[in-house]
């Protein structure tokens, strides 16, 4: 269907399946991962990604995509392909085989209780 906006010309459905010539490198920009530093001295938080032709323009574009509606004192951008990640099928790498909840902060919740018990035992000896 033709757009009501005279500036927009949509392709005819018959053209949708036409084979397109291969893309040139500049036709598709690479993506960058964007990190926001929200206050001075705080660590950079990953907020998303964007397309850009180079790191300088990635920073220019990141400012409006990711630093417009919240506080920000600095931006980082990293080419997405510079990031190495573990494979999805390796997720079990992070599953412990035995109970290691004592390593988690709530593992210390019972410390006082156990200390009391121990003191009590010492006294009754």
């Amino acid at each position: 269907m033709a757009s009501l906006d005279p500036r927009i010309r949509r392709a005819e459905p018959a053209l949708w399946n036409v084979e397109l010539p291969p893309l040139l490198p500049l036709d598709q920009w690479q993506t960058y991962e964007v990190f926001v530093v929200r206050t001075r001295g705080s660590h950079a938080q990953h907020v998303g990604s964007l397309h850009a032709p180079d790191p300088e323009l990635a920073l220019v574009l990141a400012k409006e995509q990711y630093a417009r509606r919240s506080t920000c004192v600095a931006l980082w951008v990293v080419p997405t392909d510079a990031i190495h990640r573990t494979a999805s099928e390796e997720e079990d790498l992070f599953q412990p085989a035995t109970d290691k909840s004592y390593r988690e902060p709530q593992g210390y919740l019972t410390t006082r209780e156990r200390l009391e018990k121990y003191r009590h035992r010492l006294q009754s000896c």
């Binding site: 300088e56 220019v60 574009l61």
Partner: protein
């Protein structure tokens, strides 16, 4: 003196309002999503700046920002013709080059207005410069990058530059009653601002091989008069579109 102040503030405000409107025509049509968002945001900033200038007049008992923007006859606008030019063929090189030439002028103008002896204007210039810093970074980065990019990018940028240059030059056309404004310490003469503008943009344009120099007087002559209220042939359609909604319900409160 109020009339003189109105001439100055309207020339500043109208430039921002009309360019903001032209930038907004790109919404949804920008070359990539990220740039579409950034450019639309810059346009929105410009409209906000216009509103802030009009407000300085409202504070003195003159019309409100909405009245200035939407209820003023065409001949009472004071913008430069550069900002009125339509987005012909939606060539993004033209949009970027206009943004570059204009926001360089804004840098120079606002830096000078920070020292204005009209204090409300000096304070406003100081505030607006914070947002203008990004506009200038955005414009300069794109022009430098595209100037060293593909042949197509270079040629499009160059033809946009040739088209826009005389209009950009006239951003600094002398204002009516300018001598009184300079005398009052409100701003330096426009001729002085123009040479500061040339100092700012010449190294960047020379860096991509564009020659910078005064346009021929026979080119400039028919384009003059914008600050006196002479509108370009493109203005009427723009104003009709911009005021279409508010004119449909003139008494509505927005």
């Amino acid at each position: 003196m109020l009339e003189t102040l109105e001439i100055l503030l309207l020339s500043l405000a109208d430039d921002d309002l009309i360019l903001g409107h032209r930038h907004a025509e790109w919404i949804g049509l920008g070359p990539i999503l990220e740039e579409d968002i950034a450019f639309a945001s810059i346009g929105q900033d410009e409209i906000g700046h216009a509103q802030a200038y009009y407000q300085l007049l409202t504070d003195l008992g003159l019309p409100t920002p909405d009245e200035y923007a939407f209820k003023r006859p065409a001949e009472r606008f004071r913008c430069a013709h550069l900002v009125e030019l339509p987005n012909t063929d939606y060539d993004y090189a033209q949009a970027l080059m206009r943004h570059f030439l204009y926001d360089a002028a804004e840098q120079v103008r606002l830096q000078a207005l920070r020292q204005s002896r009209y204090e409300p204007l000096a304070g406003l210039a100081e505030r607006l410069l914070r947002e203008e810093k990004y506009h200038w970074l955005h414009a300069r980065t794109w022009v430098e990058k595209l100037g060293h990019s593909t042949e197509e990018a270079y040629l499009r940028l160059k033809s946009a530059y040739h088209l826009l240059w005389p209009y950009a030059w006239l951003l600094f056309e002398e204002l009516p009653q300018e001598a009184a404004m300079v005398e009052a310490g409100w701003l330096p003469p426009n001729a002085e601002l123009r040479s500061r503008w040339l100092e700012l943009i010449t190294p960047i344009l020379a860096g991509i091989g564009f020659e910078v120099g005064p346009p021929a007087s026979e080119v400039l002559l028919p384009l003059q008069g914008a600050r006196h209220g002479l509108r370009s042939p493109h203005f009427e359609a723009l104003l009709a579109e911009m005021t279409e909604v508010s004119a449909s319900e003139p008494e509505a409160e927005w």
